[in-house]
Structure formats: C-alpha cells, structure tokens
Symmetry: C2
Subunit: 390 residues, 2 copies
C-alpha cells in the first residue's frame, strides 16, 4: 500500500497512477502522477527530470520511458515516505497534459452511426456501404483541444434560413459527443499492426467533442465537418496508461463482414470502461465503451496504413460512444431524437440542445467493486455565450 | 542594390527576401533569408538572435517582429559588406520552415469545384448549394506537411473492387493539387475581419496536396477525405512575406450572391501570382492565382468566425487552383478528365495519374519584366513505391 492515503472509491488508487501536467504554487508546470487526492512531482522525486520538468507530456511520451517512470513512482509511493515530493491536489493547478500534434476523430459506434443515419437520412439504409469496411474518420483542429474545466464559447457560423441562405448566428444546436481519446507515444511509426497497438498507445483520456449540429448541416458537404467541430474539444487531464487498463481489455463485438486483413486483430482490444454523462448534475447517459464496433487498435492501424506515421502527441478520438439502448446514447441529437423528445433535468427544466450556462461532465472508470478502480476523473465544460460583435 | 550578386531573373531579388530554415555545414538549423543564390544567417548577423537561432520560424512568426527583421536584413544587404554572415545556397541544407500546428485545406476555385462536380456527379448541378456561400474546407494532417524535395511514398488504402468491397492496395490514382499555402503569424486570434488579414498572415508558400483519388472515393462519405490526403503535403521552403506581395494584390472576381457580411472585404485580396506545374519536366499547367473565387482573407475570416483562434504555425491551403481554360487545370483528374484524356509527356509517354519515379514540380512568381520578380522557388516531389509488406 501507498503511504499517501487514498480515499475509498477514488479513481486514482496505486494501480492507476495516471500522468498529467500540474503547476505547484509559484512554480513552472511539470509532469505529475496522480494518486488519490495528491500529485507526485516526478522531477522533484529525481525520476527522469529531463523528461519530467517540462510543460507537456510529449517528451516523456516520445521517449518510451513512461512505463519505467510509472514503476519508479509506484516504488516511491510504497517505499520510505517522501512528503516533500507530493502535493495535495487542492494546492496545484492541473493543466492541459499534451501538445496535440494531430487530432483525428473516428465514427466507430455502430449504434451512434445507425442513430445518426436514421435521423439525418430517414429514407435510406442508416449505415453507408463503407462503414463496416473501415473505421471512418476525419481530422479535427488540434489547437482547440482543451483541458477539462475550460469554458466553451458558443460558436457562430452560417445556418440555413427558410430559403436555404446561410446566416451567421450563434449555434442553436450545440451538442456533446461522449468519446474516449487515445494518445500516441513513441517515435513516428507507419503501418502499425492492430496487435501492436500497445507499443504505440501511451494512454487514454475522456473526450467531449462539442458539436454545432446546425452549422454542421449547412457546411459539411462534400468535405466533412469544419467549423461545427473546430471550436473546442475537451479532454480529461489525467492520462490513464494502457498498462493500467490491461486487466480490462475484453473481446470486441464480432465484425460481419470480416474486415480487410490489415484491420484484423488476434488480441482483445475492446475496453470494459463504464461511461457517464451529466448535464447540470442530471445523469443523461450511462453506457460502456466495450460496445464500440471498431477498436482503438484497428483505428491506429487504419490511420497509419497509408504510410502516414503516428507518434508522440497525436490524439485520436473513438467517435461518439452510444450503446444499444436509449439511455446509452452519447449525444443530445440522439437522446432527444433531434429535438423531438426533450430531456427533463432534475430542476424541472427541459433541454433539446445546450443552453448558455449549462455544464456537461463526462466520467469514466474500469473495475470497482472487487477489482481495482481505474478511474479517469472527469472532462467537464460550461457553455458561455458567443461574444457580442465589437 | 545588394552587395550579394543576384542573377538575372532570380526568384529572390532584394525586393523579396523570404524567410526559411537552413542548416550550415556542421551547425544547428536556424532562420535564413534568401537573396539570389545565397542565404543570410539572421542570428549570426546579430538580428534578433533569440528568435532566429531556432529550428523553425514559429517563434519569429509569433513575435510579430518578422517585418522589422526583414527590414534589418535589407539594411544589412545594402550596407557594408558582411560576407561572414552569408552562405552560398549550394553549401547549406534547406529544411522544413515551420512546425505546422493545424493544416486547413480549402476548396475555393470555382473552376476546380465545377470540374470536380461535373466529373463526380455528372447528373447534378456541379456546385453544391453552400459553395458560393462559404469557403468550404476540411482539416488535413499537420504531421505530414513536408518540405520540397522530400520523396512521396505511394499510399495504400482500401479501394472498391467490382463488388464494392474495399481491398487494400497501393493507390492507382495518385494525383496532385496545385495550391498556394498561407502561414499564420502572431498570437492566436479569433473572428478576424477579412480586411485585417495582413495583420495575421505572415507569409505564403507553394503547396502540393498529393491525393489518392481511388482511396478518396471509397472513404469520403460522410465525413470527408482522410487517408486519401493524409500521407503527404509538400510546401516550398521559402516563405514569401505578405509585405513583398503587397504590390501584387488585386481585385478578386465578383461574388454572386454577395456573401454574408463577415466574409465581405473592402480591400483587394486576390494575388496576381503566376503558377506552373511540370511533370518530369513537361509543362502540364499554367494558370494564375487571381482566378480564385474565395480569397485568403475570406478564408482566414471563415476559419476563425466560430471563435476558434488561428495563430503562429497554422497553415491553410487555398484549395486546388484551376483557371477557366483546359491548360489551367490544377490536378490530373481535371487535366485528364478522370483518365479519359491522357496527357502526353515530352518523352512520348502518357499519363493519367502518377507513376512511381515521376517528379512533379510547382513553381510560382509575381511580377517580372518591368516589375520586381517576387518568386517562390519550387515545391517538388518524386513518387517512390509503396514499401513491400514485411
């Protein structure tokens, strides 16, 4: 056991030890490891200070030394007490953990893609012919990936009026997308095999891909979403290592038809990860990440199969996680069936899409009960109004 | 006149002075300014060494001091001789000039978009309803933007067979896209007005957005191109400043219908920039950038109107530049009308799409004749085969 006291039910027991970036009072940002309600200052502990006395995890992720650093932190926490290298979480600022090099977002929940197909193209097959053959994805804006707690400004963009003319307006259809994000580590590598995913994925975060459905509807043909999704993507600050998640890797759903050989894996790469979303404190979604049709291992194989390398600092999102039932839907457009079935919150108010002042919080964890709880903390954001024109 | 001799017809007279990154023999990469067939070592000349002794232009671009540095280099070149701070271009390595933060690619030539619409959707209106209302764009992969001269590996991806099943194959439809790239400088800023574009655009490069048309056809619905364009984007190494281009800014074509007010400019933001493409030395395209429907000023306004900031290190591409006539088309899919009209090269061989070993070179310049020639050098790349599976 650790000499740092870990509260009952904490997301961050000694089995977890996720990495993040924090700033102690009046000092420079640096690498920390979370334990219970405390943060270990890795550089101050003398563990790889060249990699740890930095304002992002990128160098540590690139080095391939993350596993060794985590083991040394575990030894530190179970050896002689070193209160001088540990800070209460309340005394530090928790910051954006990485410099995102590229942000790629997938679309890999069959339940989400089917729901969207039914809502947007009610007269066609909900899944397009390519959907079961490759994990569909697009690139997002790396610069606007922000850490949990950052306010999210309501975006403006062109939305069609009754005549089909686009008018600049703050979005009236601001939505969430419940996702899981994967951070790539190591040197850039191409043509990664799915069963080598654990050599290249450094860690995992919760992700909310905020989306403006009305802006998206007007702009997205023929090259995909742009302004509808480029304004903000929120991630949780503590990067849970794949090593910590290994006991919770499970078999994914069967794929029919079987995918092309470059997408086939022998090992189980689904993650038994419980996910929850609250809107102003009211639970609105409870699902599990293991429902995903395409695994993160297949996604990584896909995004590098053309020869484009992935390496330290790349972030890819799973795509919206929706499960098979109504209460497991990961976006408001699905939960309210594009506004036809508003949600009622605990305070009696109703929502179709988000209002200014609304707070959305994503939480997630593996295990619990008899097994160690490997938690992710939270990814939260509050909507602030579009600024007035100057 | 400069004490560095500038050859007749050079792209780089004293009126140009573009920025780049170079490595003198056995030394670290640093900022250079090109003049004729020489490079000025800015840090060695004592000009803002904190910004110039760096391996990318990002810090200089962020600082807002680019204009002042360029003026001091011009003074240096017209003052007492300082051969100690100038290298012949043949003695140095010219490197990738920037760390790309985000790469956004537009689709703003009406001739290109109309050609593509006719080729891909022959039974519909060639332009989609949103095309004249906003500059359509998508995000590309920042990590794979490479400098001129970098070999381009033929990408592989799923391509539909006769039954519609995707099969992994090296692309058989490797294409070019003749574009102009814009580098953003300064601190991150949102909601940029088109007429303030010159406060935010640091400089301009040539850009070739290599594309795999068959992979694109299979993957792009509904979220846009991904692997078809993520493998490589080539830029020219010398960043021509907007200051140098100012005499060549001209009125863009009239826009009908007039765009939303956030996209309206009073100043002329088209660029009278001649563009050429050669394939294995055979000229295949000659056009001018002033044909573009949407200007770079409108593109910058668009990509920030939702509140997403743009700042130092962001790169946006104009979209394929095609002019109104057949010889002005900026991609092979247009030049060969999707393979129906192969090109004949000077060696008698024919091409629909690119073969392994082919070299594509993009060149561009403003002025010439009676006016100073503000040239861009070249953006070139040679196709190498897809690696064999291990």
């Amino acid at each position: 056991m650790s000499w740092v006291d870990v509260p009952e039910g904490s997301d961050f027991p000694i089995e977890n030890l996720p990495f993040g970036i924090f700033r102690p009072r009046d000092e420079e940002p640096r690498v920390g490891v979370r334990i219970g309600d405390h943060v270990v200052d890795v550089a101050a502990a003398g563990i790889e200070p060249d990699l740890a006395a930095r304002p992002s995890l990128n160098a540590l992720m690139a080095s391939g030394h993350g596993g060794a650093v985590r083991e040394r932190v575990a030894e530190l926490l179970t050896g002689p007490e070193r209160p001088d290298v540990v800070h209460p979480i309340a005394d530090v600022q928790v910051l954006m953990p990485i410099d995102v090099v590229d942000y790629i977002d997938f679309y890999s929940s069959i339940h989400h893609a089917t729901n969207l197909g039914r809502i947007l193209r009610p007269d066609s097959e909900p899944l397009l012919p390519n959907w079961r053959q490759l994990p569909v994805a697009y690139h997002g804006r790396a610069r606007t990936v922000v850490v949990s707690g950052t306010p999210v400004e309501r975006p403006a963009g062109l939305v069609a009026d009754a005549s089909g003319t686009g008018r600049l307006t703050p979005t009236r259809a601001l939505d969430i997308e419940l996702e899981v994000g994967f951070l790539v580590g190591g040197q850039p590598a191409a043509r990664i095999e799915p069963d080598h995913a654990d050599r290249h994925v450094f860690g995992v975060v919760l992700l909310n891909d905020w989306s403006a459905r009305d802006i998206q509807g007007f702009e997205y043909q023929p090259l995909g979403p742009h302004l509808a999704k480029s304004f903000a993507t929120t991630i949780s600050p503590w990067v849970v290592t794949l090593e910590a998640l290994r006991p919770y890797l499970v078999e994914p759903p069967a794929q029919e038809p079987p995918p092309d050989p470059y997408l086939r894996a022998a090992l189980p790469w689904a993650v038994d990860l419980e996910l929850r979303v609250e809107l102003n404190g009211t639970p609105i979604t409870a699902t599990n990440f293991s429902h995903m049709y395409w695994t993160f291992a297949q996604q990584l194989a896909h995004l590098t199969v053309n020869g484009a390398p992935a390496g330290s600092g790349d972030l890819f999102g799973s795509g919206t996680v929706s499960g098979p039932t109504k209460g497991e839907r990961g976006s408001l457009i699905e939960l309210t069936w594009r506004g036809a079935e508003p949600l009622t919150l605990d305070d009696g108010s109703t929502r179709t899409f988000l209002e200014d002042g609304d707070t959305v919080t994503v939480r997630g964890w593996c295990g619990g009960g008899d097994r160690p709880r490997i938690g992710f903390g939270e990814a939260t954001g509050t909507i602030v109004p579009t600024p007035e024109a100057p």
